[in-house]
Amino acid sequence: MSHTFDHRNFMIFNVSELDSVDFTQVLETSKDTVRKSIDETKTFVKWEGDNTPTSVDSLTTKEGPYHYDEILTILSGSEWTPEEPEEGGR
């Protein structure tokens, strides 16, 4: 690919803490557009650079931060990705 996203950092946390995130500090747009785990109990946000946003650092269920290559490995696991291909309509 043209470049990697090595400057991005990612924090996984419980969906129950989404309201504690200041979405002006992270790249995700809102709590309504974040990606969730298959069981919808976990989510993550990402930011640029080494400094963890204050609202993310304050989360009590946080796991990370993870680098880009680490989060790709995590997201490819069964907790985040369906084992069977998904169809494009419901």
């Binding site: 790249l27 995700e28 494009g88």
Partner: protein, 229 residues
Amino acid sequence: MSGTVGPRPESIFNRFSFDFDGTDDYVAISANSNLQISDTFTISHWVKFTSTSQMYVSNFANKYGTYVQNGYAYLVFRNLSNTQIGLQSTSTINDGNWHNITAIKTTSTMAIYIDGILDANNTNGATGITSTSSNAIGALFNGAIRFLGNIDEVVVWNNDQSANASAIGSTIPTDLSTYSPLSWWRMGDKATYSNPGGVGNWTLTDQGSGGNDGTSNGMDESNRVLDTP
């Protein structure tokens, strides 16, 4: 004007693509009745990727779109029984180079052109079911099954563009306004970032007639790259 003609004058016209990180990057497009197409449509886009995972390139009204998996390109839609009907390309394109996918569905046929050449077709086309769901580039309508790689020049027509498929996909992207697209997202080109130097999002202005502007999610200025077909 005399002198040397540049090798790719069109590169001025198409400077950027979007590089999707495969975690939660995608472009959301609000629901609009003009994208709820039941009969005939054409989708075209350029992609560059290496993954074998299932990754959506485009999804409209959650009833039709394109994805890649194991390197193959797929065209899918849902018929009036809400059953998904698909067509798989015969070629794989996950070689890390740019490829054009032009996918066409009519009420009787389906076809996939790769780089302007007919690659696969069948007679499974039919009238499709519609919905009022939103639309997405680089993911399903709800942001799932995200794309990892580059996407450029995403176009939708509400008609059959098979007569122009070769011209659309066999060379570098051209000025598609010639073919009067319903919606045309230039990706990095004709896009504006809300907060230069900070956290923001991209607005992709529809260059077709449909008025279907897109808004990025999970993306910042680093997603726009000088990498084009």
